[in-house]
Amino acid sequence: MIESITALLTTDFVLYALAAGVALALVAGPLGSFIVWRRMSYFGDTLAHSALLGIAIGLISGSNPQLSIIISCLLFAFILTVLDRKTSVSTDTLLGILAHSSLALGIVVLSLADSVRVDLEAYLFGALLTISSVDLVWILAVVFLVAVVLYTFWNELVSITVHAELAEIEGTNINRLNLILVMLIALTIAVSMKIVGVLLVTSLLIIPPAAARQLAETPEQMAVKASCIGVLSVVLGLGSAFYFNLPVGPTIVVIATLIFLALYFFQGTQKSRSNTG
């Protein structure tokens, strides 16, 4: 068994997958915490769905797929933010319309392009093991950028999340920070497309923070612990996917969910014990 593990770890594509997954999980902890606190998970879903349209356009126009996903995600995030401020339709409805129309449009456009054969499943559920060194560089660069920006604006981002008006009076530019947060989410979702896929991206962002909530007293603790749970999910997920020959992306999400459930019930029994005792 030890031999097989060392054999795995010296294989390039496994190392790439591991590095990409761990890097993403690290930044998904704090970023996902904001998605949970601000109830933005549907927003994340919409961005992920719209990314498929970006992939389709990128493939047809023959441009760099990573770049076209990133640009389309950023564009969609921007459009959503502006529409949300301007329209009278509720955010919920707006997101619902955009999420599914862009997903449908993406699939239609992909099927129109006969010349390119696309593995749709890879985009929907992720294909972590097909990550190339170029993909890895993209992922690491974006993760690094997101981490630096998050670190720089951390206190202000927490402040606008806790109480926007207090933050504004204390001199924080709320609109700018909202836009920064939305762009960070868009970037992260764009590069994690290959890892867990359109349909599962948001789960990797929200399940680890939700699990970490039980263990945290402050926003920072929740963010850090979410990162740890995310990394654990990626490592265990990759491992068991290999061992039992399972699809990688869904396995990672299943592991994260199991951790969430375990913590939830463990904490529940702890609480009831301290209440009765």
């Binding site: 402040s159 999340t161 806790v162 207090l166 009076i169 204390e170 939700a210 007293e217 926003p219 603790q221």
Partner: protein
């Protein structure tokens, strides 16, 4: 306008108009068809406590939000003294249950670099023991003090308080208003606050503005309490209640009812 010699404290500036911290002139504001504020004027000077009273839906919070610069008026002007530092105590604070937040961390959002100021302010407001508690678990009265602490951490020149005494019992309310008055004197900051009941804020206020979409009457609390417009709004019984509370306090009770030792200042 930045002062040429900036190491001079602002209060030493001989400019007479410098005493005005905040002024709004002929403010009008509508939400859709509903006119909320009509031609409202308001001035807060350094060290002055101004209280806004009025029935529910009179536009008090809207006026305060305009004064803070959080929303724009439809017409009228807003003046803040240059680089005005404001501390704001909002009416409602809702913390998402998914967001873990201790009292200390909440306060650090306002002032991250000065840990000593945070603990000192907590102690001044008698809530030093709350630091490690979750903000969502503190009681109503404690929460109001935590919010006041957050407002004070900005070392404000102007404190804006939206119903600071809500959710607190009568004795606690009187104590809180007393505290606000002391803070205003000690730190020399102006206070603009919203309150429901004139009789409780009476001893701690310099100017009362009675608002019901427009300014019904304003002036010293003694004057407003007998003003026909005020009696119209709140009924004659309100002014009778008032008489009970206008005596001079020669001693104080703390929250548990014990008489406090007199202070030397």
């Amino acid at each position: 306008m930045p002062a040429p010699d900036s190491d001079k404290p602002v209060s030493n500036n001989p400019d007479t108009d410098n005493s005005v911290l905040l002024r709004v002139n002929s403010i009008c504001k509508s939400f859709g068809e509903r006119k909320v504020l009509e031609n409202v004027n308001l001035t807060v000077e350094r060290g002055q406590i101004v209280t806004l009273i009025g029935p529910n839906g009179a536009g008090k919070t809207t006026l305060v939000r305009i004064a803070l610069g959080l929303i724009l008026a439809d017409s009228g002007t807003l003046f803040h003294t240059p680089s005005l530092r404001m501390g704001y105590m909002p009416q409602k604070v809702h913390i998402e249950p998914t967001l873990p937040l201790t009292v200390i961390r909440f306060l650090q959002l306002a002032n991250r670099n000065d840990g000593r100021l945070v603990t000192e302010t907590l102690r001044e407001l008698n809530i030093g023991h709350l630091g490690r508690q979750q903000l969502s678990s503190v009681s109503g009265g404690e929460l109001q003090r935590v919010l006041l602490a957050r407002a004070l951490l900005r070392k404000p020149q102007l404190l804006v308080l939206d119903e600071p005494a809500q959710g607190i019992d009568l004795a606690g309310q009187a104590e809180l208003y007393q505290l606000i008055s002391e803070i205003s004197t000690q730190k020399g900051c102006g206070v603009l606050m919203i309150s429901h009941d004139l009789h409780l804020v009476m001893s701690a206020t310099d100017e009362v503005i009675c608002l019901n979409h427009h300014v019904c009457c304003h002036g010293k609390p003694e004057h407003v309490s007998t003003d026909p417009a005020y009696l119209d709004l709140f009924g004659a019984s309100a002014s009778q209640n008032l008489a009970i509370y206008t005596h001079h306090h020669n001693h104080e009770h703390d929250i548990t009812g014990n008489i406090r030792a007199p202070e030397n200042d």
